[in-house]
Protein backbone atom coordinates (compact mmCIF):
# COMPACT_ATOMS: atom_id res chain seq x y z
CA UNK A 1 0.00 0.00 0.00
CA UNK A 2 2.51 2.57 1.21
CA UNK A 3 4.98 1.71 -1.51
CA UNK A 4 2.24 2.06 -4.09
CA UNK A 5 1.29 5.51 -2.88
CA UNK A 6 4.89 6.57 -2.81
CA UNK A 7 5.33 5.42 -6.37
CA UNK A 8 2.27 7.41 -7.36
CA UNK A 9 3.59 10.58 -5.85
CA UNK A 10 6.95 10.08 -7.53
CA UNK A 11 5.16 9.61 -10.85
CA UNK A 12 3.31 12.85 -10.34
CA UNK A 13 6.15 14.96 -9.10
CA UNK A 14 8.61 14.37 -11.93
CA UNK A 15 6.48 16.36 -14.31
CA UNK A 16 6.13 19.40 -12.13
CA UNK A 17 7.50 22.44 -13.88
CA UNK A 18 8.56 25.58 -12.20
CA UNK A 19 7.64 28.39 -14.51
CA UNK A 20 10.03 31.19 -13.99
CA UNK A 21 9.48 34.72 -14.98
CA UNK A 22 6.91 35.17 -17.71
CA UNK A 23 4.03 36.50 -15.68
CA UNK A 24 5.62 38.59 -13.04
CA UNK A 25 4.00 41.73 -14.31
CA UNK A 26 0.68 39.97 -14.69
CA UNK A 27 1.04 38.64 -11.16
CA UNK A 28 1.71 42.09 -9.87
CA UNK A 29 -1.37 43.54 -11.43
CA UNK A 30 -3.24 40.44 -10.28
CA UNK A 31 -2.25 41.25 -6.74
CA UNK A 32 -3.49 44.77 -7.09
CA UNK A 33 -6.95 43.67 -7.98
CA UNK A 34 -7.45 40.41 -6.07
CA UNK A 35 -10.82 38.99 -6.98
CA UNK A 36 -12.00 36.35 -4.50
CA UNK A 37 -14.85 35.24 -6.73
CA UNK A 38 -12.53 34.49 -9.62
CA UNK A 39 -10.04 32.76 -7.36
CA UNK A 40 -12.72 30.57 -5.79
CA UNK A 41 -14.31 29.65 -9.09
CA UNK A 42 -10.89 28.76 -10.42
CA UNK A 43 -10.28 26.51 -7.41
CA UNK A 44 -13.55 24.64 -7.51
CA UNK A 45 -13.59 24.38 -11.29
CA UNK A 46 -11.76 22.03 -13.57
CA UNK A 47 -8.58 22.90 -15.48
CA UNK A 48 -6.23 21.40 -18.01
CA UNK A 49 -3.19 21.61 -15.76
CA UNK A 50 -2.73 20.71 -12.12
CA UNK A 51 -1.62 23.85 -10.37
CA UNK A 52 -0.11 22.97 -7.00
CA UNK A 53 1.04 26.32 -5.64
CA UNK A 54 2.72 29.54 -6.66
CA UNK A 55 5.50 31.53 -5.11
CA UNK A 56 6.07 35.18 -5.84
CA UNK A 57 7.62 34.56 -9.21
CA UNK A 58 6.91 30.98 -10.17
CA UNK A 59 4.07 28.49 -10.48
CA UNK A 60 4.39 24.83 -9.63
CA UNK A 61 2.19 23.11 -12.12
CA UNK A 62 1.77 19.60 -13.55
CA UNK A 63 0.78 19.87 -17.18
CA UNK A 64 -1.77 17.22 -18.05
CA UNK A 65 -2.39 15.73 -21.48
CA UNK A 66 -4.98 17.30 -23.72
CA UNK A 67 -6.98 14.84 -25.80
CA UNK A 68 -9.30 16.53 -28.26
CA UNK A 69 -11.40 15.25 -31.08
CA UNK A 70 -12.46 17.44 -33.98
CA UNK A 71 -14.87 15.91 -36.48
CA UNK A 72 -13.05 15.72 -39.78
CA UNK A 73 -9.64 16.46 -38.31
CA UNK A 74 -9.36 13.50 -35.99
CA UNK A 75 -7.79 13.12 -32.60
CA UNK A 76 -5.09 15.40 -31.22
CA UNK A 77 -3.05 14.54 -28.14
CA UNK A 78 -0.55 17.01 -26.67
CA UNK A 79 0.56 18.46 -23.36
CA UNK A 80 -1.44 21.32 -21.92
CA UNK A 81 1.93 23.06 -21.49
CA UNK A 82 1.50 24.13 -25.10
CA UNK A 83 -1.65 26.02 -24.21
CA UNK A 84 -0.32 27.71 -21.06
CA UNK A 85 -0.58 31.48 -20.79
CA UNK A 86 -3.19 31.66 -23.53
CA UNK A 87 -0.96 30.24 -26.25
CA UNK A 88 -2.45 28.70 -29.36
CA UNK A 89 -1.36 25.19 -30.38
CA UNK A 90 -2.51 23.09 -33.29
CA UNK A 91 -5.52 25.35 -33.70
CA UNK A 92 -6.58 24.99 -30.06
CA UNK A 93 -6.70 27.54 -27.33
CA UNK A 94 -8.04 27.74 -23.79
CA UNK A 95 -10.84 30.16 -23.11
CA UNK A 96 -11.62 30.32 -19.37
CA UNK A 97 -10.26 26.78 -18.96
CA UNK A 98 -12.47 25.71 -21.83
CA UNK A 99 -10.84 24.08 -24.84
CA UNK A 100 -11.97 25.69 -28.10
CA UNK A 101 -10.69 25.59 -31.61
CA UNK A 102 -9.40 28.80 -33.08
CA UNK A 103 -11.69 28.66 -36.09
CA UNK A 104 -14.75 28.06 -33.91
CA UNK A 105 -15.40 24.49 -35.12
CA UNK A 106 -16.78 21.86 -32.76
CA UNK A 107 -14.31 20.27 -30.31
CA UNK A 108 -14.93 17.21 -28.20
CA UNK A 109 -12.62 17.55 -25.21
CA UNK A 110 -11.52 14.20 -23.75
CA UNK A 111 -8.53 15.76 -21.97
CA UNK A 112 -7.09 14.27 -18.82
CA UNK A 113 -8.03 17.34 -16.85
CA UNK A 114 -7.24 17.90 -13.19
CA UNK A 115 -10.52 16.21 -12.26
CA UNK A 116 -9.90 13.24 -14.53
CA UNK A 117 -6.40 12.82 -13.09
CA UNK A 118 -7.83 12.98 -9.59
CA UNK A 119 -10.51 10.51 -10.64
CA UNK A 120 -7.82 8.10 -11.83
CA UNK A 121 -5.88 8.49 -8.61
CA UNK A 122 -8.97 7.81 -6.55
CA UNK A 123 -9.78 4.79 -8.71
CA UNK A 124 -6.31 3.37 -8.07
CA UNK A 125 -6.62 4.15 -4.38
CA UNK A 126 -10.06 2.52 -4.14
CA UNK A 127 -8.94 -0.63 -5.91
CA UNK A 128 -5.73 -0.80 -3.85
CA UNK A 129 -7.50 -0.29 -0.53
CA UNK A 130 -10.36 -2.69 -1.11
CA UNK A 131 -8.34 -5.46 -2.68
CA UNK A 132 -6.16 -5.15 0.45
CA UNK A 133 -9.30 -5.52 2.56
CA UNK A 134 -10.38 -8.50 0.48
CA UNK A 135 -6.95 -10.07 0.94
CA UNK A 136 -7.54 -9.86 4.68
CA UNK A 137 -10.64 -11.98 4.25
CA UNK A 138 -8.86 -14.42 1.99
CA UNK A 139 -6.04 -14.77 4.53
CA UNK A 140 -8.06 -14.99 7.71
CA UNK A 141 -11.15 -16.71 6.36
CA UNK A 142 -13.93 -16.36 8.85
CA UNK A 143 -11.55 -15.39 11.65
CA UNK A 144 -11.59 -12.02 13.42
CA UNK A 145 -10.72 -9.06 11.15
CA UNK A 146 -7.43 -7.17 11.56
CA UNK A 147 -5.81 -3.97 10.38
CA UNK A 148 -7.38 -2.20 7.41
CA UNK A 149 -9.92 -4.99 7.22
CA UNK A 150 -11.28 -4.23 10.67
CA UNK A 151 -11.53 -0.52 9.82
CA UNK A 152 -13.70 -1.04 6.76
CA UNK A 153 -15.66 -4.05 7.89
CA UNK A 154 -18.09 -2.15 10.16
CA UNK A 155 -18.72 0.36 7.37
CA UNK A 156 -19.38 -2.37 4.81
CA UNK A 157 -21.63 -4.18 7.27
CA UNK A 158 -23.42 -0.90 8.01
CA UNK A 159 -24.08 -0.27 4.31
CA UNK A 160 -25.30 -3.81 3.93
CA UNK A 161 -27.51 -4.02 7.03
CA UNK A 162 -28.72 -0.47 7.59
CA UNK A 163 -28.84 0.80 4.03
CA UNK A 164 -29.30 -2.06 1.58
CA UNK A 165 -31.26 -4.59 3.63
CA UNK A 166 -33.61 -2.02 5.12
CA UNK A 167 -34.25 -0.01 1.97
CA UNK A 168 -34.23 -2.68 -0.72
CA UNK A 169 -35.41 -5.76 1.13
CA UNK A 170 -34.72 -9.38 0.22
CA UNK A 171 -33.26 -8.60 -3.23
CA UNK A 172 -30.53 -6.38 -1.77
CA UNK A 173 -27.59 -8.59 -2.72
CA UNK A 174 -27.65 -7.72 -6.43
CA UNK A 175 -27.19 -4.03 -5.66
CA UNK A 176 -24.48 -4.33 -3.00
CA UNK A 177 -21.51 -3.84 -5.38
CA UNK A 178 -22.99 -0.62 -6.77
CA UNK A 179 -23.99 0.76 -3.38
CA UNK A 180 -20.60 0.00 -1.81
CA UNK A 181 -18.69 1.38 -4.77
CA UNK A 182 -20.76 4.56 -4.88
CA UNK A 183 -20.41 5.06 -1.13
CA UNK A 184 -16.66 4.64 -1.01
CA UNK A 185 -16.13 6.47 -4.29
CA UNK A 186 -17.96 9.54 -2.99
CA UNK A 187 -16.39 9.35 0.45
CA UNK A 188 -12.84 8.92 -0.80
CA UNK A 189 -13.20 11.69 -3.36
CA UNK A 190 -14.84 14.01 -0.84
CA UNK A 191 -11.85 13.48 1.45
CA UNK A 192 -9.35 13.84 -1.39
CA UNK A 193 -11.06 17.10 -2.35
CA UNK A 194 -10.29 18.46 1.08
CA UNK A 195 -6.56 18.03 0.63
CA UNK A 196 -4.71 21.23 -0.28
CA UNK A 197 -4.04 21.53 -3.99
CA UNK A 198 -6.42 18.73 -4.87
CA UNK A 199 -9.25 18.62 -7.38
CA UNK A 200 -12.87 19.24 -6.49
CA UNK A 201 -14.18 16.07 -8.09
CA UNK A 202 -17.38 15.32 -6.17
CA UNK A 203 -18.20 19.03 -6.28
CA UNK A 204 -18.27 18.85 -10.04
CA UNK A 205 -21.66 18.69 -11.68
CA UNK A 206 -20.47 16.29 -14.40
CA UNK A 207 -19.40 13.71 -11.83
CA UNK A 208 -22.55 13.93 -9.73
CA UNK A 209 -24.61 13.92 -12.92
CA UNK A 210 -22.98 10.67 -14.00
CA UNK A 211 -23.50 9.05 -10.61
CA UNK A 212 -27.14 10.16 -10.49
CA UNK A 213 -27.63 8.91 -14.03
CA UNK A 214 -26.27 5.49 -13.06
CA UNK A 215 -28.67 5.39 -10.13
CA UNK A 216 -31.55 6.32 -12.44
CA UNK A 217 -30.59 3.62 -14.95
CA UNK A 218 -30.25 0.97 -12.25
CA UNK A 219 -33.61 2.00 -10.79
CA UNK A 220 -35.32 1.85 -14.17
CA UNK A 221 -33.74 -1.43 -15.20
CA UNK A 222 -34.63 -3.13 -11.94
CA UNK A 223 -38.16 -1.72 -11.74
CA UNK A 224 -41.00 -4.21 -11.68
CA UNK A 225 -44.62 -4.08 -12.78
CA UNK A 226 -45.65 -2.75 -9.41
CA UNK A 227 -43.41 0.31 -9.75
CA UNK A 228 -44.96 1.34 -13.05
CA UNK A 229 -48.39 0.55 -11.73
CA UNK A 230 -47.77 3.08 -8.97
CA UNK A 231 -46.78 5.69 -11.53
CA UNK A 232 -49.48 5.21 -14.17
CA UNK A 233 -52.33 4.02 -11.99
CA UNK A 234 -51.51 5.20 -8.51
CA UNK A 235 -53.61 3.08 -6.16
CA UNK A 236 -56.23 4.99 -4.24
CA UNK A 237 -56.31 7.94 -6.63
CA UNK A 238 -59.61 8.59 -8.41
CA UNK A 239 -59.48 8.09 -12.19
CA UNK A 240 -60.28 11.75 -12.78
CA UNK A 241 -57.11 12.83 -11.03
CA UNK A 242 -54.83 10.55 -13.02
CA UNK A 243 -54.12 13.12 -15.78
CA UNK A 244 -52.58 15.27 -13.05
CA UNK A 245 -50.96 12.43 -11.12
CA UNK A 246 -49.21 10.73 -14.04
CA UNK A 247 -47.14 13.78 -15.06
CA UNK A 248 -46.31 14.40 -11.41
CA UNK A 249 -45.13 10.83 -10.96
CA UNK A 250 -43.19 10.87 -14.23
CA UNK A 251 -41.47 14.10 -13.21
CA UNK A 252 -40.75 12.36 -9.90
CA UNK A 253 -38.67 9.73 -11.72
CA UNK A 254 -36.37 12.46 -13.02
CA UNK A 255 -36.46 14.65 -9.95
CA UNK A 256 -35.14 11.93 -7.68
CA UNK A 257 -31.76 11.52 -9.42
CA UNK A 258 -31.70 15.25 -10.13
CA UNK A 259 -31.88 15.91 -6.40
CA UNK A 260 -29.06 13.42 -5.87
CA UNK A 261 -26.95 15.26 -8.42
CA UNK A 262 -27.59 18.72 -7.02
CA UNK A 263 -27.31 17.70 -3.37
CA UNK A 264 -23.84 16.21 -3.65
CA UNK A 265 -22.57 18.91 -6.00
CA UNK A 266 -23.93 21.76 -3.89
CA UNK A 267 -22.81 20.38 -0.55
CA UNK A 268 -19.25 19.76 -1.58
CA UNK A 269 -18.89 22.91 -3.66
CA UNK A 270 -20.43 25.02 -0.91
CA UNK A 271 -17.95 23.65 1.60
CA UNK A 272 -15.06 24.57 -0.67
CA UNK A 273 -16.47 28.02 -1.37
CA UNK A 274 -16.93 28.78 2.34
CA UNK A 275 -13.43 27.58 3.24
CA UNK A 276 -11.88 29.57 0.40
CA UNK A 277 -13.94 32.62 1.32
CA UNK A 278 -12.55 32.61 4.82
CA UNK A 279 -9.04 32.34 3.43
CA UNK A 280 -9.80 35.16 0.98
CA UNK A 281 -10.67 37.45 3.87
CA UNK A 282 -6.98 37.74 4.64
CA UNK A 283 -6.25 39.02 1.14
CA UNK A 284 -9.30 41.26 1.01
CA UNK A 285 -8.47 43.04 4.26
CA UNK A 286 -4.70 42.87 3.63
CA UNK A 287 -4.30 42.60 7.34
CA UNK A 288 -2.41 39.89 9.20
CA UNK A 289 -4.75 40.35 12.16
CA UNK A 290 -7.54 38.78 10.17
CA UNK A 291 -5.49 35.62 9.61
CA UNK A 292 -6.11 33.93 12.99
CA UNK A 293 -9.85 34.54 12.68
CA UNK A 294 -10.14 33.29 9.13
CA UNK A 295 -7.86 30.34 9.89
CA UNK A 296 -10.00 29.41 12.87
CA UNK A 297 -13.17 29.62 10.78
CA UNK A 298 -11.50 27.84 7.89
CA UNK A 299 -10.39 25.06 10.22
CA UNK A 300 -13.87 24.81 11.65
CA UNK A 301 -15.44 24.53 8.18
CA UNK A 302 -12.79 22.04 7.13
CA UNK A 303 -13.54 19.85 10.13
CA UNK A 304 -17.22 20.14 9.34
CA UNK A 305 -16.39 19.11 5.78
CA UNK A 306 -14.75 15.93 7.08
CA UNK A 307 -18.13 15.02 8.52
CA UNK A 308 -20.01 16.22 5.45
CA UNK A 309 -17.73 14.02 3.34
CA UNK A 310 -19.01 10.80 4.90
CA UNK A 311 -22.51 12.16 5.46
CA UNK A 312 -23.03 13.02 1.79
CA UNK A 313 -21.63 9.65 0.75
CA UNK A 314 -24.09 8.01 3.13
CA UNK A 315 -27.03 10.11 1.95
CA UNK A 316 -26.31 9.43 -1.71
CA UNK A 317 -26.05 5.71 -1.02
CA UNK A 318 -29.12 5.63 1.20
CA UNK A 319 -31.29 7.49 -1.30
CA UNK A 320 -30.01 5.32 -4.14
CA UNK A 321 -30.94 2.26 -2.11
CA UNK A 322 -34.37 3.71 -1.38
CA UNK A 323 -35.05 4.47 -5.04
CA UNK A 324 -33.98 0.95 -5.99
CA UNK A 325 -36.07 -0.37 -3.10
CA UNK A 326 -39.11 1.48 -4.46
CA UNK A 327 -38.52 -0.02 -7.87
CA UNK A 328 -38.16 -3.65 -6.78
CA UNK A 329 -40.77 -3.55 -4.04
CA UNK A 330 -43.44 -6.22 -4.31
CA UNK A 331 -47.10 -5.40 -4.06
CA UNK A 332 -47.99 -5.65 -0.40
CA UNK A 333 -51.18 -5.78 1.60
CA UNK A 334 -50.83 -2.32 3.06
CA UNK A 335 -51.58 -0.91 -0.38
CA UNK A 336 -54.87 -2.69 -0.53
CA UNK A 337 -55.92 -1.31 2.82
CA UNK A 338 -54.88 2.22 2.05
CA UNK A 339 -56.19 2.28 -1.49
CA UNK A 340 -59.38 0.39 -0.82
CA UNK A 341 -61.19 3.08 1.16
CA UNK A 342 -62.55 6.34 -0.15
CA UNK A 343 -59.32 6.96 -1.99
CA UNK A 344 -58.60 10.15 -0.11
CA UNK A 345 -55.26 8.94 1.14
CA UNK A 346 -52.33 8.60 -1.21
CA UNK A 347 -51.20 5.03 -1.11
CA UNK A 348 -47.49 5.38 -0.99
CA UNK A 349 -45.61 6.55 1.98
CA UNK A 350 -42.32 5.14 0.90
CA UNK A 351 -39.23 6.45 -0.68
CA UNK A 352 -39.01 10.17 -0.16
Amino acid sequence: MKRLLLALFCLLSFSVYANEPTATTAEATDKEEFSPGEMILHHIGDSHEWHWFSTDNSHFTTYLPVIAFRPGQGLSVFSSRNLAEGKVYDGFKLEHEHLVSEDGSKVYDFSITKNVASLMLSAILLVAVFTAVARGYAKRGSGAPRGIQSFFEPIIVFIRDEVAKKSIGPKYERYMPYLLTVFFFIWFNNLMGLLPGSANLTGNISVTLTLALLTLLITLFSSNKNYWHHIFATPGVPKALLPIMIPVEVIGIIVKPFSLMVRLFANITAGHIVTLSFISLIFIFRNLGVAPVSLAFGLFINTLELMVAILQAYIFTLLTAMYIGGAVEEHHDADFQMGGGDGAEPAHAHGH
Binding site: L41, I44, G45, D46, H96, E97, H98, Y108, D109, F110, S111, I112, T113, N115, V116, L119, M120, A123, L126, V127, F130, T131, V133, A134, Y137, A138, G141, S142, E153, I156, V157, R160, E173, M176, P177, Y178, L180, T181, F185, N204, I205, S206, V207, L209, T210, L211, L214, F265, T269
Partner: protein, 164 residues
Protein backbone atom coordinates in the same frame (compact mmCIF):
# COMPACT_ATOMS: atom_id res chain seq x y z
CA UNK B 1 -22.39 29.53 -14.88
CA UNK B 2 -19.30 27.47 -15.62
CA UNK B 3 -19.57 25.32 -12.54
CA UNK B 4 -23.11 24.09 -13.25
CA UNK B 5 -22.46 23.20 -16.88
CA UNK B 6 -21.68 19.49 -17.28
CA UNK B 7 -18.53 18.80 -19.28
CA UNK B 8 -18.83 16.09 -21.87
CA UNK B 9 -15.26 14.87 -21.40
CA UNK B 10 -15.49 14.51 -17.66
CA UNK B 11 -18.78 12.62 -17.93
CA UNK B 12 -17.11 10.26 -20.38
CA UNK B 13 -14.11 9.65 -18.13
CA UNK B 14 -16.30 9.37 -15.05
CA UNK B 15 -18.44 6.72 -16.74
CA UNK B 16 -15.43 4.78 -17.98
CA UNK B 17 -13.35 4.95 -14.79
CA UNK B 18 -16.26 4.49 -12.42
CA UNK B 19 -17.38 1.52 -14.49
CA UNK B 20 -13.92 -0.02 -14.35
CA UNK B 21 -13.67 0.60 -10.61
CA UNK B 22 -17.14 -0.90 -10.12
CA UNK B 23 -16.25 -4.02 -12.09
CA UNK B 24 -12.85 -4.44 -10.45
CA UNK B 25 -14.16 -3.92 -6.95
CA UNK B 26 -17.16 -6.15 -7.58
CA UNK B 27 -14.95 -9.01 -8.70
CA UNK B 28 -11.93 -8.57 -6.46
CA UNK B 29 -13.34 -6.89 -3.37
CA UNK B 30 -17.08 -6.90 -2.76
CA UNK B 31 -17.80 -10.47 -3.76
CA UNK B 32 -15.08 -12.08 -1.63
CA UNK B 33 -15.68 -9.65 1.24
CA UNK B 34 -19.44 -10.08 1.32
CA UNK B 35 -19.26 -13.83 0.92
CA UNK B 36 -16.73 -14.21 3.74
CA UNK B 37 -18.81 -11.90 5.91
CA UNK B 38 -21.82 -14.07 5.22
CA UNK B 39 -19.82 -17.20 5.86
CA UNK B 40 -18.53 -15.86 9.14
CA UNK B 41 -21.97 -14.74 10.24
CA UNK B 42 -23.49 -18.09 9.42
CA UNK B 43 -20.67 -19.90 11.23
CA UNK B 44 -21.19 -17.70 14.31
CA UNK B 45 -24.91 -18.28 14.12
CA UNK B 46 -24.34 -22.01 13.75
CA UNK B 47 -21.99 -22.04 16.73
CA UNK B 48 -24.53 -20.18 18.85
CA UNK B 49 -27.28 -22.53 17.80
CA UNK B 50 -25.07 -25.52 18.60
CA UNK B 51 -24.29 -24.07 22.03
CA UNK B 52 -28.00 -23.64 22.67
CA UNK B 53 -28.63 -27.19 21.58
CA UNK B 54 -25.83 -28.48 23.81
CA UNK B 55 -27.35 -26.57 26.72
CA UNK B 56 -30.72 -28.12 26.02
CA UNK B 57 -29.18 -31.56 25.78
CA UNK B 58 -27.36 -31.02 29.07
CA UNK B 59 -30.62 -30.04 30.68
CA UNK B 60 -32.31 -33.10 29.26
CA UNK B 61 -29.44 -35.26 30.45
CA UNK B 62 -29.66 -33.76 33.91
CA UNK B 63 -33.40 -34.26 34.00
CA UNK B 64 -32.88 -37.86 32.84
CA UNK B 65 -30.33 -38.44 35.56
CA UNK B 66 -32.66 -37.09 38.17
CA UNK B 67 -35.44 -39.26 36.88
CA UNK B 68 -33.16 -42.27 36.97
CA UNK B 69 -32.11 -41.43 40.51
CA UNK B 70 -35.71 -41.04 41.63
CA UNK B 71 -36.56 -44.34 40.00
CA UNK B 72 -33.64 -46.02 41.74
CA UNK B 73 -34.77 -44.59 45.05
CA UNK B 74 -38.27 -45.86 44.48
CA UNK B 75 -36.92 -49.27 43.52
CA UNK B 76 -34.83 -49.37 46.66
CA UNK B 77 -37.82 -48.47 48.80
CA UNK B 78 -39.91 -51.09 47.09
CA UNK B 79 -37.27 -53.78 47.58
CA UNK B 80 -36.86 -52.86 51.22
CA UNK B 81 -40.60 -52.95 51.76
CA UNK B 82 -40.86 -56.30 49.98
CA UNK B 83 -38.05 -57.71 52.07
CA UNK B 84 -39.63 -56.59 55.30
CA UNK B 85 -42.94 -58.01 54.12
CA UNK B 86 -41.34 -61.31 53.32
CA UNK B 87 -39.54 -61.44 56.65
CA UNK B 88 -42.75 -60.62 58.51
CA UNK B 89 -44.51 -63.31 56.58
CA UNK B 90 -41.76 -65.79 57.40
CA UNK B 91 -41.91 -64.94 61.07
CA UNK B 92 -45.69 -65.31 61.02
CA UNK B 93 -45.41 -68.63 59.24
CA UNK B 94 -42.83 -69.89 61.69
CA UNK B 95 -44.96 -68.81 64.56
CA UNK B 96 -48.00 -70.56 63.16
CA UNK B 97 -46.03 -73.70 62.47
CA UNK B 98 -44.64 -73.74 66.00
CA UNK B 99 -48.10 -73.32 67.49
CA UNK B 100 -49.44 -76.09 65.26
CA UNK B 101 -46.54 -78.36 66.18
CA UNK B 102 -47.07 -77.68 69.86
CA UNK B 103 -50.75 -78.50 69.54
CA UNK B 104 -49.97 -81.68 67.68
CA UNK B 105 -47.42 -82.75 70.29
CA UNK B 106 -49.88 -82.09 73.11
CA UNK B 107 -52.50 -84.15 71.32
CA UNK B 108 -50.09 -87.02 70.79
CA UNK B 109 -49.01 -86.88 74.38
CA UNK B 110 -52.63 -86.97 75.45
CA UNK B 111 -53.32 -89.99 73.27
CA UNK B 112 -50.23 -91.77 74.57
CA UNK B 113 -51.26 -91.02 78.13
CA UNK B 114 -54.74 -92.35 77.45
CA UNK B 115 -53.32 -95.57 75.93
CA UNK B 116 -50.93 -96.02 78.78
CA UNK B 117 -53.73 -95.39 81.16
CA UNK B 118 -55.94 -98.03 79.46
CA UNK B 119 -53.09 -100.52 79.36
CA UNK B 120 -52.32 -99.87 82.98
CA UNK B 121 -55.98 -100.25 83.93
CA UNK B 122 -56.19 -103.56 81.99
CA UNK B 123 -53.11 -104.80 83.74
CA UNK B 124 -54.44 -103.69 87.04
CA UNK B 125 -57.64 -105.59 86.26
CA UNK B 126 -55.70 -108.75 85.23
CA UNK B 127 -53.44 -108.53 88.24
CA UNK B 128 -56.44 -107.95 90.43
CA UNK B 129 -58.16 -110.93 88.87
CA UNK B 130 -55.07 -113.08 89.28
CA UNK B 131 -54.67 -111.91 92.80
CA UNK B 132 -58.29 -112.58 93.48
CA UNK B 133 -57.99 -116.02 91.97
CA UNK B 134 -54.83 -116.70 93.92
CA UNK B 135 -56.41 -115.50 97.05
CA UNK B 136 -59.59 -117.35 96.31
CA UNK B 137 -57.64 -120.53 95.50
CA UNK B 138 -55.83 -120.38 98.67
CA UNK B 139 -58.98 -119.73 100.58
CA UNK B 140 -60.77 -122.35 98.72
CA UNK B 141 -58.00 -124.90 99.10
CA UNK B 142 -58.30 -124.67 102.70
CA UNK B 143 -62.00 -124.36 103.16
CA UNK B 144 -63.62 -126.02 100.28
CA UNK B 145 -63.80 -129.70 99.79
CA UNK B 146 -66.28 -129.78 97.14
CA UNK B 147 -63.98 -128.74 94.40
CA UNK B 148 -66.21 -128.86 91.34
CA UNK B 149 -68.84 -126.72 92.97
CA UNK B 150 -66.28 -124.24 93.88
CA UNK B 151 -64.82 -124.14 90.38
CA UNK B 152 -68.19 -123.46 88.99
CA UNK B 153 -68.58 -120.49 91.19
CA UNK B 154 -65.19 -119.07 90.27
CA UNK B 155 -65.82 -119.37 86.59
CA UNK B 156 -69.02 -117.52 86.85
CA UNK B 157 -67.22 -114.79 88.63
CA UNK B 158 -64.52 -114.62 86.02
CA UNK B 159 -67.08 -114.34 83.32
CA UNK B 160 -68.50 -111.39 85.06
CA UNK B 161 -65.06 -109.88 85.28
CA UNK B 162 -64.35 -110.41 81.54
CA UNK B 163 -67.60 -108.79 80.64
CA UNK B 164 -66.31 -105.69 82.19
Amino acid sequence: MGIVTPEFGLIFWQLVIFGIVLLLLRTFAWKPILSSLKERESSIEGALRMADQAKLEMQQLKAGNEKLLAEARMERDRILKEASDVSNQLIEQAKNKAIEEGNRLTLQAREAIQNEKNAALAEVKNTAAKLSIDIAERILRRQLTDEPAQQQLVDSYLKEVKLN
